[in-house]
């Protein structure tokens, strides 16, 4: 059949290699860097949260039949209910992201 040529070609083709040969990847981070990474990760959460709020403002404008221009986003007025809903959303996100911190209360190496 005419459609089999693609299948045939891929069946003989090797998948691309995803690891480069040669020198091993250098070691970059030191154990103490993990604290810095954690702080960077919290800053990234702030960016995700800001993006989420921006999406919510898009929806607010769309509901009003408006176009979400930069100007319209800056001028959007949020109701107390909408602000409260955003706060709930942020709290829910924090609970999901920080679940690992709160799930384990026993000391390391000991089961609860």
């Amino acid at each position: 059949m005419a459609t089999t040529s693609t299948t045939d070609a891929s069946s003989v083709r090797q998948p691309r290699r995803r690891v480069a040969r040669g020198q091993a990847r250098p070691r970059y981070l030191a154990p103490q860097d993990i604290d810095r990474l954690a702080i960077m990760f919290v800053a990234l959460m702030a960016e995700v949260s800001a993006l989420r709020d921006r999406l919510d403002t898009h929806e607010l404008l769309a509901d009003a039949g408006m176009v979400a221009t930069g100007e319209a986003i800056e001028a959007a007025v949020l109701s107390p209910e909408r602000l409260a809903r955003r706060e709930e959303g942020r709290h829910a996100m924090l609970k999901r992201v920080l679940r690992v911190v709160t799930e384990e209360t026993a000391p390391d190496g000991e089961s609860a």
Binding site: I39, A43, A46, S49, H91, E104, T105, P107, E110
Partner: protein, 370 residues
Amino acid sequence: MIQERHALLPEATHDESARQDFVSSLRKMFTTELFPGTRRVYQEELLPRHVARHGQPPADQREVSKLMERSFYYRGSNVIGRAAQELLWDTVGESIERQLDTLNAAAKPKLGELGTLTIDPAFQVPRYIDAVDIHVMPGNFHTELGEDDVFAGALYDRGVHVFSFGGLGPRNDGLGVAHAAFVKERFPDLKPRRILDMGCGPGFTTLPWKDAYPDAEVYGIDVGAPQVRYAHGRAEAMGYPIHFSQQDASATDFEDGFFDIVVSMLVTHECPQPVIRGLFAEAHRLLAPGGVTVHDGGLVASHDPFENLMTSWFGVNANEPFSAGFKALDFEQAFVDGGFAREAVFRGTRDPVYLKGQLPPISFIGAVKE
């Protein structure tokens, strides 16, 4: 909660506002869930295990700390709390920096104003202020980014509001209002001519004194020029006649007996012990007979090493290096050394301004000048 708008309050774009809201939510979660959860982890998990193994609870704060360090809950929540603190100033600071020229111009003294602003160009910032950025707020309270700079004042005003997730009120003045109400209740017959707020910062602890005593002249002093510049602009924008000046509260240029009330709020726990003593001695010099000085603090440290670890959180994690000395200070003796009679020292408390039931009461200590 939204901060009350005025000419000096920094604006925020949609995304700046969203980031600040995130920091508030994170701070709220840390304060109301992660941090109190530490107590549960200790009391329900770590303490019983420790007692079962060693036959007794941890002996001191160092032992408690070692025990807690074994828990990922403790380590994980502490790094989140620290991250929130760093993110707070960076997020608010970025927003203020881009509009700083506008804010500086708005704060500049103009003809016909209600109050005054005095900057001391020869002022020497004390080493204990310059050496450590309190609260990990880069630049601390005093760093000037340029001429007529208000950056650190604006940063602290907005930062405190985000930090407390609005809990100190639309004017950030909950603590100042509580402070003034405490003095009015305790000294109903006091008719102050002049009131001094030592370490006034952006002025949110200063203005409530004018509301409490409309007939009194109110003064605010701070080591940070950007604080008093911002405080002046803010007070003018809000319609309050206040006299702000850049001064070290342990050696001011006011005459003896110039004031009837001398206060500080959230200042002494950021000062080394000799400075706290210096503030009390200066308060004694500045007060007229019958005048009162009142400061937050003066709590006797807990005997429970775990509770001491909890109250050391900001000392350990957010650059409050002098808070340990503050906790250990014999306040009564410090007032006596400052010139007050021992029997003139008094203490009191008020409900916390927010998170009632979670935050401890506000504690006050003060003295009356004979």
